[in-house]
């Protein structure tokens, strides 16, 4: 048994190795894009922290932010990130149906997050606390809105990957794309940790 394995493994391993190398190089390239995106977010965070007290006589974070809502948004995004992880486990097992179900669940949870954020923005703007009201609000809408746009594009990518998984099956390139989308989705949840801590929790503390 062991000998058969050691005889058949090298050929199998080199074939596997070639495609694995391409996928891991692409994953590293995508990781470096994520790192550059992190620098973009850090610039927006720095702007927000500098502008956090420039209310211009307008409403403060304490008056505007609703913590239970922010907690629910956090949980929606965290559950979405974890469910995507479960879809990745299903992908490695080759279970196409379970991958599609996991992607659909992650998409719906992400949609819940974006809907809550849009309704929060809508309520703030209709109260006269739009981005033009004060420096604090401009920085707030830029930072939170940029994250929300990233989540929206991640959801668009998820729809595309659901169509590709359904049409092409779990081929090598589709699996590599699914794992890069997973990196993007987990990355957005990590950025949100900084966001709810610096914007919402610190905003209510002031």
């Amino acid at each position: 048994m062991m000998q058969t394995q050691s005889l058949t493994m090298p050929g199998h391993a080199s074939g596997e190795h070639g495609s694995h190398d391409v996928a891991s190089t692409q994953a590293l390239g995508f990781w470096i894009y994520l790192m550059s995106d992190l620098v973009v977010f850090s610039g927006l965070f720095a702007t927000y922290v500098v502008m956090a007290h420039n209310y211009a006589g307008g409403p403060t974070g304490k008056e505007l932010f609703h913590l239970p809502g922010a907690l629910l948004e956090t949980m929606l995004l965290l559950c979405s990130s974890a469910v995507y992880g479960l879809a990745m486990i299903a992908m490695h097992k080759g279970d196409k149906r379970l991958v599609l179900a996991g992607l659909a669940a992650a998409l719906l949870l992400g949609l819940g997050f974006v809907c809550m954020e849009v309704s929060e923005f809508h309520a703030m703007i209709s109260e006269g606390a739009g981005p033009q009201r004060s420096g604090f609000l401009s920085a707030f809408f830029t930072l939170v809105g940029t994250h929300g746009l990233h989540v929206s594009f991640g959801m668009l990518w998820m729809v595309v990957m659901m169509a590709q998984t359904a049409a092409k099956g779990l081929t090598g390139p589709v699996q590599a794309r699914l794992s890069r989308l997973g990196m993007f989705w987990h990355f957005l949840d990590i950025v949100w940790i900084g966001l709810f801590s610096v914007v919402y929790l610190m905003g209510v503390m002031q």
Binding site: V39, A46, T47, A70, M75, H92, I190, L201
Partner: protein
Amino acid sequence: MNQTHQNSTGAGSGTLKSYATGFILSIVLTAIPFMLVMNGSLSHSATIFCIFTAAILQIFVQLHYFLHLDRSSAMYWNLISLLFTFFIIFLFVGGSIWIMYSLHYRM
């Protein structure tokens, strides 16, 4: 045989256990700062300290359990680029805040 199988999948994908551990730790590290701020039981500076400690811990939990970042050779360049990015962010955010607060103080 089992050992090599573990290594080949370890870099790219997690197990159910790793995602569950990451998920539960993240919930706990989210609930603690929210509860502290909502209750207002601690002093102002202690609450701020707890918010940032929980946030940094949760970032490391998610990097480890969701993105599977570790010191293995497969993740070496990912880790190096992350450390370099942290250095850039330290200069960028730290420098901006330092300059702007100094300006604010002198005006």
